[in-house]
Subunit: 220 residues, 2 copies
DNA sequence: ATTACTAGTAAGCGAGTAT
DNA sequence: TATACTCGCTTACTAGTAA
């Protein structure tokens, strides 16, 4: 969507164009947008063509109403701003299911971990992790995790080797509850490891390459 | 503000750029915005020049942080969307103080009205109305009043003449509480009449032509 | 890898104006 | 009064490429 069309649509919405027909000449709209009558007229034509507004031409001016699609577009823009300012107790990721090295299973079956998962997260993880590769740019969002208190799973030692501390954040993957697991000290990876009480690949019918939505939730 | 710069700024904010430095190449940004690396680079230059972001150039990529001004810009955009969707129990107007015909005083001193103002609005209006001329386009917002229940002041008759019903909405003018008064059946005018328990022109130091902010509040 | 310059092309703009 | 077309001008875009 062209940025200036969105801006125009927002301006109409501010005048009440979602609920009511707005009486607005192209000249007036131009004034609101700091542009000319001709440009405003063109914007209206474009919005109309894209079915984001509907118009009735009165004798003078025109009656403009924002369509369902137009409203949806504004709503999704609004959601973006909510994510920026209000929903900072949540972080959203898009990812693609990927197969790890199969190590997840080994770790999640260690009693030293599972006991703590049960205590601190409230569920016994299904063996193995579901790995999701997030887009490279979205790695930036991981830095936001530093502002929030993680659920810390303590490391432990067995006869053979030692296991390090692990940080968890409660999260959802395609609406199914679970948690993100991150090694304690290490740089952020572009692979997120997800644990859950259920077999996610089965329940969500996922295979490698499928898109998933992950929401990390700090409030719960 | 150019619409595409705002869009770019929002994208950076979604990656956490308000709180953290975001590691973002112009190529990646271009991908996010569905445009080329060159255009994204230019956007970043423009945002930098306008001091909406600050940048550090690493060896690769760059670290981008949204400045205070950048955040303010996004915040005011967010406010617009809140007004569209969430604060639909409020309507905002900009207006200019104007002198009416002096009739306001005559009406507000009628006992048939004042008694009801006291009962239904909770205050005895200072004699006279403060009139504000709203911009022509903002008249559209008045149509939103139809969706809300007005406080109705009943008309009455005296020996000499009869007075019609009046609709009121609780409102604020430059943060001072009062109410907007509208004749019951008539087309919307571009003049809003405001009553309050205090002498507004005095208390707010207003004279003709001064800008005022009026907020009609349906919830209170 | 990057960023960002140059230059040629495409899109956007608004004065003038027809309707 | 309106809307919206044409057309010359400006801004914005991206391929190529230097650093």
């Amino acid at each position: 969507m062209k940025a200036y069309l969105l801006q125009t649509l927002k301006e109409i919405a501010l005048l009440g164009g979602i609920k009511n027909k707005v009486e607005l000449s192209s000249h007036e709209l131009g004034k609101q947008l700091n542009t000319s009558q001709q440009t405003a007229s063109r914007y209206l034509l474009e919005l109309d063509k894209k079915k984001l507004i509907s118009r009735e031409h009165g004798i003078k001016k025109q009656l403009i109403l924002i369509t369902k699609e137009g409203k949806n577009l504004l709503q999704s823009e609004y959601t973006d701003f909510q994510r920026i300012f209000d929903l900072s107790d949540k972080i959203f990721f898009k990812g693609k299911v990927t197969s790890g090295l199969g190590e997840g299973r080994y770790y999640t079956e260690q009693k030293g971990y599972t006991k703590q998962f049960q205590e601190k997260l409230g569920f016994k993880p299904y063996p193995g992790t579901l790995n999701a590769e997030i887009e490279y740019v979205e790695k930036n969002k991981l830095r936001l995790l530093n502002d929030h208190r993680a659920i810390v799973i303590d490391g432990f030692k067995t006869k053979n080797r030692s296991f390090g501390n692990v940080r968890c954040f409660k999260a959802e993957i395609n609406k199914k509850k679970g948690a993100i697991v991150l090694p304690m000290r290490s740089h952020y990876s572009h692979i997120l490891e997800f644990i859950a009480p259920i077999y996610l690949r089965g329940k969500l019918n996922l295979k490698d390459g499928d898109n998933v939505n992950i929401i990390i939730n700090f409030k719960e």
